[in-house]
């Protein structure tokens, strides 16, 4: 055993900056009167921006690890960290007016959000089982609290409870899988795990497969893949929309990072096994997500099922089992997060004091009252459906390409057929906005702040811009697995 070595703290600089700043936000917020709550938001956004700056500052050319190889900073982590921070910034800004209208404009929302983001950043860099688990729990615990944040809402409390119980169970399953691996290999470190598993895979295939199953189940719970998806629609619907916005975007990126760290970095030796598991999960997710979404009348719930189907697509990319597939899955995840931001962002925009817009019918006739936002939401819907020239098409193209390149044409055919089914409910949103009459009492006019409108427009147009020039983002995804 080596002596105690002072760890290289530099790779963790972004996390440290974030932690320090978050504590600062927590304290400063205490002394702010309610009318100055905007300062907390400003400080939170600043925190995230500083973190992005720190990430860019410490970004290594190749990859560095620290803390006894349990923390790694590479291209993959850098790209995802920046993405998570930027998405969180948009989430914070979009949700402000909603929070004010619903009398929950409290500093805790931002503090919890920042802690959740910190957890996500740790997840992207975690290179030991323990670190992954720590990041995941920091994220989850913050999310439980955020959902229950609106104390007056019964359904939100119910959702938080449900999420907590199921989330704890999923964590337990994950931990159980981890403990078996630890028992067999004697290490928690991802790098060492890869080598030890290689040696063990001949002798103990059954035990390894057993442990792997629990890991995959735990992951599926967190990602929301069928059949471990039950929590997702209820949580999406029950949470305040500002929190749904958060849950539906950034944590997806973190979940993807966790999947890559566990399966690809650590257990690539067992790729044959987990590919088959993911295949079943992916097909089930695409099938169930797309079909059940058709029956939804609640927009948030519909988007939840839509998420499930998109998770299926992300899994397709991962199960292709090569760099090409991983980078396409990464591209898919990132663009999905951007698209979901627009969809939930528009929904938040429609909320007013005393009126909770969450049903599909609340969108009816939006083209008459607000043609611009109707166009943005339509772009988001077409992007989710994968219709060119939006970015969603390109995301699907890359995933399909990676699946076909490993000779699984039938899987690609299955995927596109389910996406045709999916097209129907996205088109229905467009139909409601463009073809239906507007209801007087519902959508009068959107009175929201200018910054939200500008950011949301940029966000929406970026779906087209990235659809026409996908290389802008794709280059980073390829680099991450280069």
């Amino acid at each position: 055993m080596s002596d105690f070595i002072q760890p290289n703290l530099l790779p963790a600089l972004p996390e440290m900056v974030m932690l320090a700043m978050t504590c600062l936000v927590l304290v400063v917020d205490l002394f702010l009167p309610q009318e100055k709550r905007g300062f907390t938001l400003l400080l939170s956004v600043l925190t995230l921006l500083l973190t992005v700056a720190a990430v860019v500052f410490v970004a290594p050319a190749d990859s560095v690890s620290s803390f006894g190889d349990s923390f790694v900073l590479d291209q993959f982590a850098v790209t995802l960290k920046i993405a998570i921070c930027l998405v969180s910034i948009l989430v914070f800004i979009y949700s402000r007016d909603y929070l004010i209208d619903h009398d929950i404009y409290k500093g805790e929302y931002y503090v919890l959000g920042l802690f959740a983001t910190l957890g996500m950043l740790i997840m992207t860099s975690a290179h030991s089982f323990l670190m992954i688990y720590l990041g995941l729990e920091l994220l989850s615990l913050s999310l439980y609290a955020m959902i229950a944040f609106n104390r007056k809402s019964l359904i939100a409390s119910e959702s938080a409870m449900k999420y907590f119980v199921l989330g704890a169970m999923a964590s337990g399953l994950l931990l159980y899988g981890i403990s078996i691996f630890y028992g067999m290999t004697g290490t928690l470190n991802i790098n060492q795990l890869a080598t030890v598993v290689m040696a063990q895979s001949e002798q103990n295939p059954v035990a390894l497969g057993f442990a792997l199953t629990f890991i995959v189940v735990g992951l599926s719970f967190k990602l929301g893949a069928v059949p471990f998806h039950m929590w997702l629609p209820d949580i999406y619907q029950g949470s305040p929309t500002s929190v749904t916005l958060f849950i539906g975007t950034a944590p997806k990126i973190a979940g993807f990072a966790m999947a890559i760290r566990l399966l690809v970095d650590g257990l690539s030796e067992l790729q044959v096994d987990w590919s088959q598991m993911l295949m079943v999960l992916a097909i089930a997710s695409m099938a169930l997500g797309n079909i059940i979404a058709i029956a939804q009348t609640n927009f948030k719930r519909m988007l939840a099922y839509s998420t499930i189907s998109h998770v299926g697509f992300i899994l397709l990319g991962i199960l292709a089992g090569n760099a090409n597939g991983y980078s396409s899955a990464m591209f898919y995840t990132l663009t999905y997060a951007i698209t979901a931001l627009v969809a939930f962002g528009i929904l938040i925009l429609l909320n007013r004091k005393g009126f909770e817009a969450e049903n599909i019918s609340d969108l009816s006739g939006l083209n008459h009252t607000n043609p611009w936002y109707a166009a943005m939401l339509a772009i988001a819907m077409f992007s989710m459906a994968g219709v060119p020239p939006t970015v969603g098409f390109y995301a699907k193209l890359t995933v399909l390409q990676s699946v076909i390149s490993v000779d699984m044409v039938w899987l690609a055919v299955t995927a596109v057929l389910f996406s045709v089914i999916g097209l129907f409910y996205y088109l229905r949103i467009v139909k409601v906005m463009y073809f239906d009459e507007s209801l007087e009492e519902q959508v009068t006019s959107i009175k929201q702040s200018l910054d939200v409108k500008v950011l949301l427009s940029v966000n929406g147009l970026s779906l087209i811009a990235l659809g026409i020039f996908p290389s802008l983002l794709m280059a980073y995804c390829i680099q991450a697995f280069g």
Partner: protein
């Protein structure tokens, strides 16, 4: 003077950017949007004329080529160019869009800027589809044009528009996603190229060819549309506003036919030869069975929609009878069949567009498409009746009109392959005359049917303008098809040489 202009790109992007401008012009001043739209559509048409006048008819190679790297990660290129089969269709598109803009001038009051913008953007996408030589670029344009058409039918359509437009979108989408899988498969097979011409020279086994052929067939058969996947078309046509019907019939259906020539025949020649019986059967069914279906329609638009399906049956028949002719005859008969199919596409673009505009003119006055609601229109609208009868004759394939040329060429070519195929195809001359002229008889001739017809006013100058433009086109093409046929000789001959070579 045009040599160093990216002319083709201009033709694609002028209407798209113009359409966005129209969108921003908004509806506060309705005449503003439509003026911009008219200018943009005319400029686009003028820009597209050099594509014809500067076209070199001696070569089968693509011209006006622009090739730039676009998405390096997947070697997707912005690769466009035209040859003898795409160029006429591009001109047809830019011409038809001008007509559509003029025809909507006063008629569309509701959200006019969005209406005109949709058509201009759609024009750009359609021209892009015809000029794309990179298959992903093709696919992007191919799919993107669905969005404006979806909105056009859904927003300005008739009572049952939502059903019709959803059906239209879903049908087309399900066809094209399978094509996407086929394209990606060939991309992997060809070591990373999405260029259509690389696919042309890609060796493929018979099983691969058949699967790829079927994937293309689903995509293009829905678009054409061929029996039995045609059912979306009557719905979409009936519910669409006049402009939507015109674009749908005149251009969008042609993209299916174009796809067969650009993708199916050259990429999977062996499978096409193997499965030609399937297409020929489907085409003849369209010609004969759908002809009978058209006969019993009560709704004028539905009748013309069914007649479109029957006429497009000729196009696909011409394209695939080639393999039968090659077994018994030299290349000349095959070339006749392919060129006949192409002429039929262009001619049908003019005639079906004109027929839908005629119905639109009456619908604007009476708000009914039912044949039974009319009768004796000639008494109150004599000028209009003259146009309507002329276009109906063209639709029935009267010699001297463009409708005759294509049908005649295809029937003549079919005779070289088999008497019975030609016989069945020739039935259209009877059926087409029957359903078209019977409709004209009931609508235009006879005594004045009711008081509403009595109150009709004849067409105004604007309506005379667009109907005359189309009438001239139909007549010129009918009397003197050479300018059209000549531009495609080289390309068609090359295509025929290509499909005789086995790829196995």
């Amino acid at each position: 003077m045009y040599a160093d202009w990216p002319l083709l790109s201009l033709v694609i992007w002028t209407p798209i950017i113009g359409g966005i401008l129209v969108l921003f012009a908004g509806d506060k001043e309705p005449s503003g949007a439509r003026k911009i739209a008219l200018v943009v559509s005319i400029v686009t048409f003028l820009l597209s004329i050099p594509l014809y006048s500067q076209f070199n008819t001696d070569t089968h190679l693509v011209q006006f080529v622009e090739r730039h790297s676009w998405i390096p990660a997947f070697n997707i290129e912005y690769f466009i160019g035209i040859d003898g089969i795409s160029m006429p269709l591009i001109l047809l598109t830019s011409f038809t869009t001008v007509i559509v803009v003029i025809s909507a001038w006063e008629v569309i009051q509701y959200r006019a800027s969005q209406y005109f913008a949709a058509f201009l953007i759609m024009e750009g996408f359609m021209i892009g589809t015809f000029s794309a030589l990179d298959s992903i670029l093709f696919y992007i344009f191919f799919e993107a044009m669905l969005i404006p058409m979806f909105l056009v039918i859904g927003i300005w359509g008739g009572a049952n528009r939502i059903y019709a437009t959803l059906k239209f979108f879903l049908y087309t989408f399900i066809g094209s996603v399978l094509m996407l899988v086929a394209l990606i498969y060939m991309y992997n097979k060809s070591d990373g190229s999405f260029a259509i011409f690389d696919f042309h020279h890609l060796p493929l086994s018979m099983t691969e060819q058949i699967l790829i052929f079927l994937a293309f067939l689903v995509a293009f058969a829905v678009k054409v549309p061929m029996w039995p996947v045609h059912t979306w078309l009557p719905d979409a046509h009936v519910e669409a506003p006049t402009g939507g019907s015109v674009i749908l019939a005149a251009i969008m259906l042609k993209i299916g036919g174009y796809g067969f020539l650009r993708f199916s025949l050259p990429i999977t020649p062996d499978a096409s030869a193997e499965l030609d019986w399937l297409i020929i059967t489907m085409s003849l069914t369209a010609v004969v069975y759908i002809g009978f279906v058209a006969l019993v329609q009560q709704d004028m638009k539905k009748l013309i929609a069914y007649s479109s399906i029957a006429h497009m049956g000729f196009v696909t028949l011409g394209f695939f009878i080639v393999f039968r002719i090659m077994d018994v005859d030299d290349a000349q008969g095959s070339a006749l069949a392919l060129e006949g199919g192409m002429v039929q596409m262009v001619s049908h673009g003019f005639i079906s567009g004109a027929m839908f505009l005629c119905v639109g003119v009456m619908y604007d006055r009476m708000h009914s498409r039912q044949i039974a609601d009319y009768g004796g229109v000639a008494n109150t609208m004599p000028v209009f009746a003259a146009f309507m009868v002329f276009f109906a004759m063209a639709n029935a394939g009267l010699p001297g009109t463009s409708g005759f040329v294509g049908e005649f060429m295809v029937i003549l070519a079919s005779f070289k392959a088999s008497f019975w195929i030609a016989f069945l195809a020739a039935l259209t001359l009877i059926l087409g005359a029957a359903y078209t002229l019977w409709m004209v008889k009931r609508v235009v001739y006879g005594g004045i049917g009711n008081d509403n017809v009595k109150a009709l006013t004849d067409i105004n100058k604007r309506e005379v303008l667009f109907l005359s433009l189309l009438a001239i086109a139909v007549l010129v093409l009918g009397l003197w098809p050479d300018p059209l046929v000549n531009v495609m000789h080289a390309t068609i001959d090359n295509l025929l040489n290509h499909i005789t070579l086995s790829k196995i």
